[in-house]
């Protein structure tokens, strides 16, 4: 009775695919907030610094680029999955019924849409990095 697709939760049409891109956003958010925190209050100093150390800007840029890339790949994967419905119509154990097919397309579409929202949210965080001083209050 167990569905084959249940075992592949991270496929574009799987149970967790539509939370993958928002999870990337969350990890990026925690990373950039944490990095800026460590940069502005160096561990052991107990003091807020007025000027950020030099490593902060490249670290934030790399983190943000990695996050944008990951979200773009997830979105692309979902898009490709939507473009090949016929190939999935026959599963490893024979024909896949219409309701399963429709569910897979819906899940893949949602995964793609959440990737777009996550990309916008990461981009807005990137704007904050470009426009604002890191440690100044």
């Amino acid at each position: 009775m167990k569905q084959a697709s249940d075992k592949h939760w991270l496929r574009p049409e799987g149970a967790l695919a539509f939370v993958a891109a928002p999870t990337v956003w969350a990890l990026h958010f925690v990373a950039v907030y944490g990095l800026s925190g460590v940069a502005c209050v160096p561990p052991g100093s107990g003091q807020q610094q007025a000027v950020a150390p030099g490593w902060l800007t490249p670290a934030l840029a790399l983190t943000t680029m990695a996050a944008v890339l990951a979200v773009a790949l997830l979105g692309l994967r979902a898009h490709r999955s939507l473009e090949r419905p016929a190939a999935d119509a026959v599963g490893p154990h024979g024909p896949v019924d219409a309701s399963v097919q429709a569910r897979k397309r819906t899940m893949a579409w949602i995964a793609g849409a959440t990737a777009v929202v996550a990309a916008i949210a990461i981009g807005l965080s990137g704007l904050a990095m470009l426009m604002l001083p890191a440690c100044e209050r």
Binding site: D6, A26, G44, I110, T114, I120, S125, A134
Partner: protein, 844 residues
């Protein structure tokens, strides 16, 4: 019972429409009936528990509303003398606390518990005793909070309980204790409800109801419930740390000993901002069921809405610092939260436009529920727009702590929750009661509530912009605030009259409303396939669903369900049964045999209450006895699960011979354990965050004079724990291969017991003092956390061993062992992370 069946089956002609004729199902009626008299307290049926939750929530709304009226009277004119300053502070604190913790979240979960099984095609929630336990915790926690008010010891520090105002130096009386313990007690219900809702949505949908066909309300509640699992633990942890600091002198928020009061704000708002969406999303789910019905077309943009819900669920966790813009956050960090606050408006806007598009392209009818929907659009959109304004840091600095923010939050919360709830109440009351609401009385009530609300809160935008601060009990004359406050007070009483009118309207409705025809609003979702009033078992047979709008695509469905065409129709048993299905595509997977009436939920909640009472009164023996009794009750409760006399497989009808949950790998009990551990993981993550936050702000860590960490000993302890995990794995494999699992299980218990005792002894004998500095406080708290979890895992493992000895764990019934193993591996993992944090990270 006979009379009830006759009532249901009566052919009632109303407005020319015949009431749905339901067949008698005496076996189902008998199996699902609540006990009478005092025995009614043992009811676990979802409809009963949910209605109790909704009624209790409404009662707390009225109580909080009465407090608000006193607040409005006091502020109605400068120098008013209705309340003195302490009483005013207490009323403000209790008003906010009541509305957020005792009304908003519980009533939303109450609606979900009532509606979800009916919408999903299930006979009950999958863990009925858990939701009953949650209800009693909610009621007792709420009563504990109000006991403080009635005994003159109510909290007066605001609903956010900021430290250091709330610590033992500045608040030595019991007010803060009432808040911390009462709210935590009541929050057990929120977490229990969330687990129940997730398992219900994922595992008890009717066959054919794939995730893509699920009603939008179920999507909304699924995301909300996951948010609760991640959002409530930080507050529970923060409350626990504050209570430990108050009771035992630890240092978490005390800046003089290495603590940081801002840590409380972070933990509180890590809960507090997602809470806004936890409140809004269920209400939006109600709207997403009501609007298509009154537009008489399927919801526009179903996929868009699901994507928006998921996005909101995540983004709302990146907003918490926008409540802290004024505390001195570096500009770029504030910018991250401002950016997330902007980003969340995108999925929120998607939902608004999808609802408007549904109405635009449909044939909308204006009835009482739709009046509230229109009210929602007006009020909530205004609140959302001012939300975007306060997300901008410079504007927030201007209006921070003014009545502008009071106006904004009430537009969001009353617009986003109360209007949809009232729409939902009028929408589903005909099904609950079998009677229609009065249009005239309903419209007049709406007029009072809508008018009263806007007259109260619209002027507050102006009083705020004119500089009137929040949380002051009076103000000087001549500042231009008086007439605006008078208007707000008049509006407040009008709003209160509206809620009284609503209560009267519902009472009249229940007693004198016209008989409702079947599916009176011509809705599409499964709950309207049921007879009204709804039978306690919901569905005579569990339907097959082929569409997102099953009643519109298959009008014969109600009659077929009642005739027993589908699953579990002809079972000759007195057990309560419903169908478990697969997570993605809702294929029949197993039969869930549900608990019948039980005293365990109430008994367990009462002894849990003893624990909280002991903590409140500083009677540690009582707290310890309450904790021990709670554990004993939970074990006794669990002992009664999974009836070994039931067959391992059951003919569910339609050619499906299915295992019962004890024989199924993905049974509700297993899911509940996994979800509870997810919430527990969030709890532990909040503790790790607290440790790191205090580390980051400290000038030396470990604190001067503290003993050095012991990394090699910690590695040995972790290795011993790892060995116990391997032994537990061996036990599961032995059981799967039909061999005796007792040997490896006993070995796992011995190894873990030794490791746990070693960790506890080492920390007690050689660890830093928890009183002197935040380092020692967090060290001992993290250690206690790890030891406590290992102790629970030991109890779970011992329980599985006892069940195996009694023949309840076998190759074909692996559930108990699987659940114990999940808890075991999790506790070992948690303890390993704790050891690494305390001994390797601190050393580095």
């Amino acid at each position: 019972m006979t009379a009830r069946v006759e009532h249901r089956t009566a052919d009632l002609a109303t407005d020319g429409v015949a009431q749905q004729v339901a067949r008698p199902h005496p076996r189902l009626d008998a199996a699902w009936a609540n006990w009478k008299g005092i025995g009614a307290l043992a009811a676990v049926n979802h409809s009963t528990v949910a209605v109790r939750t909704i009624v209790t929530g409404f009662a707390f709304l009225l109580a909080g509303g009465v407090l608000a009226m006193f607040i409005r009277l006091q502020l109605s004119w400068s120098g008013a003398d209705v309340l003195d300053v302490r009483t005013y502070n207490r009323f403000v604190t209790m008003h906010g606390t009541t509305m957020m913790f005792l009304f908003a979240v519980p009533i939303a979960e109450g609606f979900a518990m009532y509606l979800l099984p009916k919408m999903l095609g299930a006979r009950d929630l999958p863990l009925p005793r858990l939701s009953a336990y949650g209800y009693w915790c909610y009621l007792l926690g709420g009563l504990m909070l109000y006991a403080g008010l009635l005994t003159g010891q109510a909290p007066e520090q605001g609903w956010f309980m900021y430290a250091p105002l709330s610590d033992a130096r500045f608040s030595p009386d019991k007010g803060a204790d009432f808040w911390l313990l009462g709210v935590t007690f009541a929050e057990i219900a929120a977490v229990a409800g969330a687990i129940e809702i997730i398992v219900s949505v994922l595992k008890t949908r009717a066959p054919g109801m794939t995730l893509a066909r699920m009603p939008l309300f179920a999507w909304y509640m699924l995301v909300t419930a996951f948010m609760i699992l991640f959002a409530f633990p930080p507050l529970i942890l923060g409350s626990l740390l504050l209570e430990i600091e108050r009771s035992f002198g630890f240092a978490f928020y005390d800046a003089t000993r290495g603590g940081d009061p801002l840590l409380w704000q972070h933990l509180f708002w890590l809960f507090g901002h997602p809470e806004v969406y936890i409140i809004f999303l269920p209400a939006a789910g109600l709207l997403s069921m009501i609007i298509p019905t009154f537009a008489q077309r399927p919801m526009a943009g179903y996929k868009w809405i699901v994507a928006a819900i998921v996005s909101v669920g995540f983004l709302s966790f990146g907003l918490w610092v926008h409540h802290m813009f004024a505390v001195g956050i570096p500009l770029m960090a504030a910018g991250f939260f401002s950016a997330a606050s902007m980003a969340v408006s995108i999925p929120m806007g998607i939902q608004i436009f999808a609802w408007l598009a549904t109405l635009w392209t449909g044939r909308p009818r204006l009835d009482i529920p739709m009046l509230y929907v229109v009210g929602f659009f007006f009020v909530f959109v205004l609140g959302g727009l001012t939300g975007v304004m306060v997300a901008l840091v410079p504007f927030d600095w201007q209006v921070h702590d003014t009545h502008f923010v009071v106006a904004h939050l009430h537009y969001v919360l009353i617009g986003g929750l109360v209007f949809p709830l009232l729409a939902g109440a009028y929408y589903w009351l005909p099904q609950y009661a079998g009677r229609m609401p009065s249009k005239a009385v309903g419209a007049a009530t709406f007029g009072l509530i809508f008018g009263g609300f806007n007259i109260t809160f619209l002027p507050m935008h102006l009083t705020g912009l004119l500089g009137m601060p929040r949380r002051v009990y009076t103000y000087d004359p001549g500042l231009g605030w008086e007439w605006l406050n008078v208007v707000s007070t008049v509006g407040g009483f009008m709003l209160a009259a509206g809620f009284v009118a609503f209560a009267v309207d519902v009472a009249l409705h229940l007693r004198h409303g016209m008989r409702a025809p079947p599916n009176p609003w011509r809705a599409s979702s499964l709950e309207w396939a049921l007879a009204a009033p709804v039978p306690s078992y919901n569905f005579a047979s569990i339907p097959q669903v082929d569409s997102r709008v099953p009643l519109w695509d298959r009008p014969s469905l109600p009659e077929e369900i009642d005739r027993g065409v589908f699953y579990l129709a002809h079972r000759q048993t007195d057990a309560r049964e419903t169908l478990g299905t697969t997570l993605l595509d809702a294929k029949p997977e197993h039969v869930i045999i549900l608990s019948r009436n039980s005293w365990w939920p109430l008994d367990t909640a009462l002894v849990t209450g003893l624990f909280f009472l002991g903590m409140l009164l500083k009677l540690w023996w009582l707290a310890a006895a309450g904790a021990a009794a709670t554990l004993a009750c939970v074990l006794a409760w669990l002992w009664t699960t999974g009836d070994a006399r039931q067959p391992a497989r059951i003919d569910a009808g339609g050619g499906a011979v299915l295992p019962t949950q004890s024989a199924c790998a993905q049974a509700p009990g297993w899911w509940a354990m996994v979800l509870a551990l997810l919430a527990d993981g969030a709890w532990f993550a909040a503790l790790v965050f607290s440790y790191l936050y205090l580390w980051l702000g400290a000038s030396e860590w470990p604190a001067a004079g503290s003993p050095a960490p012991w990394p090699w000993i910690a590695l040995a302890q972790a290795a011993l724990l790892g060995a116990s995990s391997l032994a537990m794995r061996a036990a599961c494999r032995a059981n799967a291969a039909a061999r005796d699992a007792s040997g490896p299980l006993a070995a796992a218990l011995v190894a873990a017991l030794c490791a746990t005792a070693w960790i506890a002894w080492q920390a007690a004998a050689s660890g830093p003092s928890p009183i002197d500095h935040a380092y020692g406080s967090t060290f001992q708290t993290v250690t206690f956390f790890a030891v406590g979890h290992l102790a629970l895992a030991l109890v779970g493992g011992g329980f599985a061993l006892a069940r195996a000895r009694h023949g309840w764990v076998r190759q074909d019934r692996p559930l108990d062992l699987q659940v114990a193993a999940v808890l075991w591996h999790y506790a070992v993992g948690l303890a390993t992370v704790a050891l690494a944090l305390l001994h390797l990270f601190a050393l580095a």
